[in-house]
């Protein structure tokens, strides 16, 4: 009898599967260092279980942390100003290409990260060209069905989530100068471009077929005749009818130069339902990255 029991236990244990789905509360760090500006603000939050609400503020802030930032071997202490928001006790200007280190201690967890600050970036010109009249366009919530999930196609509807309407297409070209040597590792910066119209109605058409934003290696971006980097993006402005005028709206054109850590963070944050961005912080989630940001707002009419 005993061998049979042992055999049964062996069989069952082979089929057992250990699942670890609980997690201690983890520290989340968010801090962006910009050149020619003051030492960065450090946001500290904490993770929450899936079943709990997640309201930004005191309930998700990581209070009581010890935070310090080093620049060129000089350490600066921080103190919490608002829940989860830590600011330096002493003001200090961050210079381009500076190396910064972050050290955080919170509830027995220790987080550390380093980053380099990219050269200052300045938008040289922005050209906005809107279509003269609206064109038929797809108003899209979700379109594509993953072939690997064909099992799950519903039989009562193709449920493409698409409907037809009218859109104005707006083409935006931005140019900027590069004032540093783009050769070697030091020159391997990334650029993120973004067109952000302030519209009541948006369509995911932008993301699929147009180009409201892009992430590129800066040295792979085309140059114009004057040697400036040049990038063109397109976004859509939905309207109700074929003869409707384009709504007057504010457009924010933004450009970020960054290190690879931020580029990886952006690349990994495009689908929060499926994936999370990689962290460059040892001992915590989040991001500590040097960036150089320039933006420009314009009213489009």
């Amino acid at each position: 009898m005993r061998p049979k029991i042992i055999a049964f236990l062996v069989l069952m244990s082979a089929g057992c599967d250990a699942v670890h789905q609980s997690s201690p509360t983890l520290l989340v760090v968010e801090s962006y260092v910009a050149s020619q500006e003051s030492l960065p603000v450090v946001h500290l939050r904490q993770t929450r279980p899936l079943g709990d609400p997640y309201v930004l503020g005191a309930s998700t802030a990581a209070a009581g942390a010890t935070v310090s930032v080093a620049m060129d071997s000089l350490w600066f202490d921080y103190a919490m100003d608002e829940p989860g928001v830590y600011e330096p006790l002493v003001d200090h200007l961050v210079l381009p290409q500076a190396e910064l280190s972050l050290d955080v201690a919170w509830q027995g967890q220790r987080a550390a990260a380093t980053t380099r600050v990219p050269p200052v970036l300045t938008l040289d010109s922005v050209l906005v060209v809107a279509g003269e009249e609206p064109v038929s366009g797809l108003i899209l919530d979700s379109l594509f069905i993953d072939p690997a999930q064909i099992d799950t196609i519903r039989f009562d509807s193709l449920r493409t989530g698409a409907s037809e309407g009218f859109v104005y297409l707006v083409e935006v070209t931005m140019q900027w100068r590069v004032d540093y040597a783009e050769e070697g590792l030091d020159g391997a910066y990334w650029v993120r471009t973004q067109l952000r119209p302030d519209l009541a109605d948006r369509t995911r058409l932008d993301e699929y077929f147009l180009r409201p934003e892009q992430l590129l290696k800066e040295r792979h971006i085309a140059r114009d005749a004057a040697g400036r980097r040049i990038w063109t993006g397109v976004y859509a402005v939905p309207v109700d009818a074929a003869d409707a005028p384009m709504p007057v709206h504010r457009l924010r054109v933004a450009l970020v130069r960054s290190t690879q850590a931020y580029a990886q963070f952006v690349s990994g944050s495009d689908n929060p339902r499926r994936r999370e961005p990689p962290t460059n912080i040892t001992g915590a989630l989040g991001i500590f990255a040097g960036v150089s940001v320039d933006s420009f707002s314009v009213v489009v009419q």
Partner: protein
Amino acid sequence: MAPKRRIALLCSCWLLLVGAAQAQQITVDFRDVALREALEVFSTQERVTFIFSERQVRDLRSTCAYQGTVVGDAIACILQGTTLRAERVRRRQYVLSSISPAAHVVPLGMIRGFVTDATSGEMLSGANIYLASMRLGTITNSAGYFALSHLPPVDYTVRISYVGYAAVDTVMAAYAAPLSHIRLQRITIVEQAQEVVAPLYEPLAVEPGVLRVPTGILQRMPGFPGEADLLNALRWLPGVQRAGTSTSGLVVRGSAPDQNLYLLDGAPVYHPWHAFSLVSTFQSEKFKDVRLYRGSFPAEHGGRLSAVLDAEMKDGNREEATAAVAVGAFSGRFILETPLGDHSSAMFSVRRSYIDGVIGKTQPVSDGVVVDTMRTGYYFMDMSGKITWRPSNRQRLSLSVYGGRDVLDLRLPFDITLDFTSSLRFRDWLRPSELFFEVDTHWGNYLVNARYQYLHSNQLFVTAALYSSSYVARESIYIQPVVSSSVMSRYHVNLHDAGLKLDVDYYPLLTHQVRTGLRVVRRIFNSKLDAEIRRTPGSVDNTNQESRLSAVELVGYIQDTWKPMASLQVQLGLRGSILSGGTRLVLDPRLGLRFDGGTFVLRASGGAQVQYVHRIRDRYSFLYDLVSARWVPASGSLDPSRSINMSVGVAAPFTQAITWSLDAYWHTSNGILLPTDEARDKDGLEGPGIELGTLLGQYSRGRARAYGLESMTRVRLGPWLSWISYAAGRSFSRTPELSDKSYRPARYDVPQIFQAAIMRDVGRFTFSISSVWRSGYPTTVPIARYAVGDPLSETPTRYLHRPRINNGRLPAFFRLGFQAGYWFTVRTARISAQVQAYNLTNRRNVVGREYYPEGDGPVLVEDRHGFPLIPLFEIKAEL
């Protein structure tokens, strides 16, 4: 332990064993006793077996006094003064033969011949030939030929058996060595239930690791979409499952689908699926023999890490013309077999789906102003043909052709919603639109294989084959999301194998059967992408890329099937291979053991495998690599995948009604390609392109391992036939390049699978009920939520923390199926009708789970479900 001490210990053990053997004293003392009686006494005393005919020993007497330790000397003493001598066949097994008065040399004989299907004349590959008196056997080769050489020249009682056929007992004379033709009669499931020796599938397989399933049984296996489909039916075997619930490739013992090799008449098929892997290209009615090698393969097979499916098409009925026509829920098919004169036969089959015929390939639509034509065409079809010519008993030439393709041709507006309540006509749901998408996608396999088989001498059988196999896919997409914007993409994949195979079977001795061979194959891997994304008339991006790769693989192997004892068979093999382009020579040893304990059989196998091709796909863009199977060869910078497989098992009949088998396996592999970012899915317009370097950048070298137990029980109770299988196992993978410190559950890790099926035929009715229960597939479960901001966004974005891939599991999967059929005859035609209920309980199995981190409240979870209850049917007429 030091080497010298280890050697000394081994020597001591050997001396002890030798000493023990030498200590066995043999004493013989016969005075004028009948020789037969003397042999029987000696046989009992010394546990020696003699093989002789009654005629040989009649009237002979023996007088002998011997004291010593040598069995041979004792037997010579017993036989002295007679006209007989004893020849040792194997350990403790002797055959008596007459001494030639002239030369005192005994000529040895052999038993040889072909085994065929009595009805169709098909050669049966893998039939068992068993000499009960010697407890010795062999199997037929791919041409149905067998040979047992170096046999003492006497008569032997021989049993010939084959799964799905009635066994035949006959007497064959080794001294004359005629070329025998054994004809086996196919039997029904009911007859099999009454047949004591015919197993449902072969637990006592001679070749370790192989599963053979008669195609007649496979056709009865229930499965989606209710049609005779070989690969769908194979998942009823332990350790075999579909990757999806009813779609995607086969998973064998937890390995990835691209680690299986599919052979059609010995030539590879890269993508053996139709209809997005819903049905396979292997239509079971056209095959005469199907073998599935799991884990450990004989040396003749290789090139994949996990499994080899070797399916042999029918040669065509040699006796009379037969035809079958069938219509199922999705497709219709026709198969014809006919003799072509006295020496030739042919088989031809065709199958095509008809959904496009029902809803129409084109849909003329109009809104009163604009007239347009929408397209809704999809079909799959395949055609197979084989012609076999037998100019003599010793030669056979066959030409096999296969072509199968899928065509998806769509032009549809985006805002389509099926509304069954307003109309059942598809075109009523459509209207002209300036915004539409077009898909024109073709993919398929094309194969030509010429094979020549030649019985050069009684001991030498040669098979040579020349084949060409290609996989071609073309994906064309045109999307017009805005009147002034468009997306156009043309993607083309072409894989082509041209190969030469040479196999030689050599039967030098009774206890040895040697198989050796050579393969040369040239592989071409071409792909091309032309894409244009027009965002506005002034903003146009073009992508034009092409990849052309080729490689030559050279393989040689040798394998000896050695039967040192009546109860033991050892299969030793070595396979050497090399690929052009910088890889090194790889030697893969193979070992198979089979021990027959009388009431049970123990089997073990082990071996190493190498896979020179990797399957990859772009994981970013939905413009290409949607349906194509793209493979790339190993090279100096991309190592081939390697694996080691081992398995041990036991099979035993508990009673005449119950047969049980249990197998344990272990498998490890390295050099496999795993996605660098498992969560990355095709959800963008632009991707990094099709160049090999950029595609490989999406993958990392990984390792995998798997282990488990598989149990299979077959029960025959009167007219009931049932089988129950249970498999418990785990499979893990790891990516050291990504600093994975420990193994994680692999994508298709299923700890437990339980399957059961019951069949019964009652007169003209046939019934079967089947069920499958298995653990859910692994899934990556987030364990926490957090928020991080960005310099370009005003509010932080909420993310889900997923520290480990596949840390959770979907709910268990269960499905019940029912099948009922009725058959009748109209003149010479046999008509059968069958209905099937797929997922009889309409259980909504969870096949995916989505998590939504947005919002302040708890994380929302939404499940995706598998197919509901689907009624299916099939009507078939056999002429």
